[in-house]
């Protein structure tokens, strides 16, 4: 079943790592502009689900449709093009490149897509302003705080105007004040560009920034909107 108007739909996903079953029939769907929290205890399969949805990990079976296209039929080059231009990623630790300045970090995805330095950094600065970190443009990641670094990482994830933003515990390493500000800015920015956000979190206060949640347990997912 494909929920009408969904941008990304997964059905009956199975994935095992050796004898360990990570996904056991998980489902997922998300619309453009929607923020969906993926919750569940550690080891429940939520990160595997995110990695499958993002085309980083190939499921053993099941279907993932992105924009109506089955991801299993894409070759590696197509999948990596998708990840570079249509998807954005934010992880628990910003994973910024330490040798580059903040603005170079934010501009990096555009540079990798062949956009000129000048143009890429102009776009990067626009996003840094929205994330309130434009004053850090010349600093290197080692010279900024955790909260600032994470905002730079969010700016970098949005600079290509992705249609889907994958955020895996994006505030996991931040204190609650910084974490909330990052969530506010992230969801505001995503909504303004109509990007869909897949937000993996075990924190209820972070999940409260979503429109709805799915719960993953023992590799199975439950869409709580359909339960209540």
């Amino acid at each position: 079943m494909t929920p009408a108007g969904s941008l990304l739909v997964a059905d009956a996903l199975h994935k095992a790592y050796g004898p360990t079953v990570a996904l056991d029939g998980a489902e997922f769907s998300i619309h453009p502009g929607e923020v969906v929290a993926v919750m569940g205890p550690s080891g429940s399969g939520k990160s595997t689900l995110l990695h499958c949805l993002a085309g980083i990990v190939t499921p053993d079976s099941g279907s993932i449709l992105y924009n109506g296209r089955e991801m299993a039929t894409m070759n590696d080059a197509e999948r990596s093009a998708l990840r570079r231009s249509e998807f954005g990623f934010v992880f628990q630790f910003g994973q910024l490149v330490p040798e580059l300045t903040c603005v170079e970090n934010v501009a990096l995805p555009l540079r990798l897509n062949g956009i000129s330095r000048k143009e890429a950094e102009k776009a990067a600065l626009g996003w840094m302003e929205r994330l309130e970190v434009d004053d850090l443009r010349k600093k290197r990641p080692g010279e900024v705080s955790g909260g600032q670094g994470q905002r730079v990482a969010v700016a970098r994830s949005l600079v290509t105007n992705p249609r889907v933003l994958f955020a895996d515990e994006p505030t996991g390493a931040l204190d609650s004040l910084n974490g909330e500000r990052v969530m506010e800015l992230l969801t505001e920015a995503a909504r303004s560009t109509n990007a869909a956000v897949v937000l993996v979190t075990h924190e209820a206060r972070v999940a409260a920034y979503s429109d709805r949640e799915i719960v993953v347990r023992d590799g199975k997912s439950r869409d709580m909107e359909r339960v209540v």
Binding site: P41, A204, A208, Y209, V215, M224, E225, V227, V228
Partner: protein
């Protein structure tokens, strides 16, 4: 919340009419539950009787809303004592949800389902509060944060319980 102490505290900055007190209370502390005029006047008459406030003036026209109240020295001492006394922490030992879980296990119903449904309900409320916080001023943010932290605590308990259901079932059912 002690309405008497709150109204008394509001009077400390200067005499006020009853309607003025209600307005100040609602603005600062009422949030979704404004005071009824009746509550204000019954509280003020109790404070008056106990000598914690006095009538500072009455505007022509009569009626309780015309009275202007001022705090007395005894009233100031009362506010001071109230502020200095710590609130008794809520022990939270009576939980309806815990009761429901135990009963579900005893009657072989799906306890995980109950927890899932409760999580969804809690998150629904947390979304409303988060949204309100985003639009509100600092006072709104603080009051919503207070509620959000409590709901989050419930949810943490809920997750822990979900992870321990099998063990709980063994203990409860034997």
């Amino acid at each position: 919340m002690s309405i008497g102490h709150t109204l008394l505290g509001l009077l400390e900055s200067g005499p006020r009419h009853g309607y003025d007190l209600k307005r100040a209370f609602d603005e600062k502390f009422g949030h979704d539950r404004p005071l009824h005029y009746g509550q204000v006047y019954s509280t003020m008459s109790r404070l008056l009787k106990n000598g914690l406030v006095e009538v500072d003036g009455i505007e022509p026209g009569g009626g309780p809303e015309r009275k202007r109240y001022a705090i007395t020295d005894a009233g100031i001492t009362d506010v001071q004592t109230w502020l200095a006394t710590p609130e008794k922490p809520e022990p939270y030992l009576q939980s309806t949800l815990y009761t429901k879980i135990v009963l579900a296990l005893l009657t072989h119903r799906d306890a995980a389902e109950i927890l899932d449904t409760q999580r969804a309900e809690h998150l629904r409320m947390m979304r409303i509060l988060t949204d309100r916080k985003r639009r509100g001023d600092l006072a709104d943010q603080l009051i919503c944060d207070h509620a959000l932290f409590h709901l989050e605590a419930d949810l943490r308990w809920l997750e822990l319980t979900a992870a321990r259901l099998e063990k709980l079932a063994e203990v409860v059912v034997k």
